[in-house]
Symmetry: C2
Subunit: 190 residues, 2 copies
DNA sequence: AAACAAAAAGTAAGTACTCACTTAAATACA
DNA sequence: TGTATTTAAGTGAGTACTTACTTTTTGTTT
């Protein structure tokens, strides 16, 4: 295995070998796409922010869209990480607690991933509500276990609440949602 | 006052005189900005969709951004319309009912206004949470009247719920949220 | 260890557009 | 006739991407 300036990242389910420059390009692109938008970001801006030549972007990625697709793979990885703890938990009350607290556990370094994800949700190519289904299924199980009258609707409601809290955190900061979190924890008797 | 092809629309608080061509330009821009994004939309695309010459856009609007600002004025108008009925209602239960049902009363012709609004919320120049304060204040009053324990948090929670329902309607269609609406009406005993 | 070749990574310059916007002349319409 | 609009051409800047070349790294041989 090679030992040069490089690192390993998980993109979806597979291991990808990447140089330091590639990493810099992806980081720069993430920041710009997440905050300015894909179309509003030029490859020249990305190159400058990454501290590389513009041509190098096209050496490592097929085109500008290919860069977005690589980032999207990383976004999906973040999402899976976010779910894993919830999916594998077996105590219904713990599931609820972890779920409600999940937006508050995301490190701020990951906020651009989430911003990009929410921006991309408005593009039909990238919007797939099925992706949230495992979480909704898990929550449905929780509300069934806890003998709620409409477990499926409770699950859907909570999933959408968590999403709107995450959006608000990204826009207004974590502090703006802390009271609401505690309020929800109380509502669900946690 | 001129009598040719024209109409009157309210932009924020004042009356704006507008030709049919201006209207077509704005409609085309709305559709494209809302669905493709501002940066991803060229003035040539707008002209073609509006069925006018590209030069005419710049006769009527200072620049591309000016077009967006004019649309934003209309977006704000739609928002005020949406609030008016709620703000002026004096029966707490009716306020809740109207609020929960409000995303479902929006005509689909207005969906692009709302799409644009949600897209623009990710731009700091256009994001202003204070705008929702009148609604939150009204709902706080409602929950106080109805003797809820934490009226302010209840109001905030509901406001965010309504927003996420509106987003889901825009993405997935009205039918996807009907069950949730009925569920909420039931939760609030309406 | 040193020398060299090959492979990989990276750069600067270039290419062929597209873009927002302007301008002047011509056309259309009431 | 006066006004609104179109047409056509143009401008200068910016865009995504390519190309030819350079630099760095890796592998092989001595």
């Amino acid at each position: 295995m090679q030992k040069r300036n490089s690192s390993f990242i998980f993109v979806s389910d597979y291991l990808l070998f990447m140089t330091e420059k590639q990493d810099k390009i992806l980081s720069a692109a993430l920041e710009l796409f997440a905050n300015e938008g894909f179309s509003a970001t030029s490859t020249n801006q990305i190159a400058k922010k990454a501290g590389v030549s513009e041509g190098l972007i096209f050496k490592h990625f097929k085109n500008k869209k290919g860069l977005l697709d690589a980032l999207y793979g990383q976004v999906e990885g973040k999402l899976s990480e976010g779910f894993a703890q919830i999916i594998f938990e077996t105590d219904p009350k713990k599931v609820l607690k972890i779920t409600i607290e999940s937006p508050f556990t995301i490190p701020s370094e990951d906020y651009d991933f989430w911003r990009l994800q929410f921006k991309l949700k408005w593009e039909s190519d990238y919007y797939n509500p099925e992706k949230m289904q495992p979480l909704i299924d898990k929550l449905t199980w929780v509300f069934t276990e806890l003998n709620y009258e409409s477990p499926e609707l409770e699950a859907k409601l909570l999933e959408q609440m968590i999403e709107t809290i995450m959006v608000a955190i990204l826009r207004q900061g974590k502090e703006s949602q802390l009271a609401l979190k505690d309020f929800l924890l109380k509502k669900y008797e946690l």
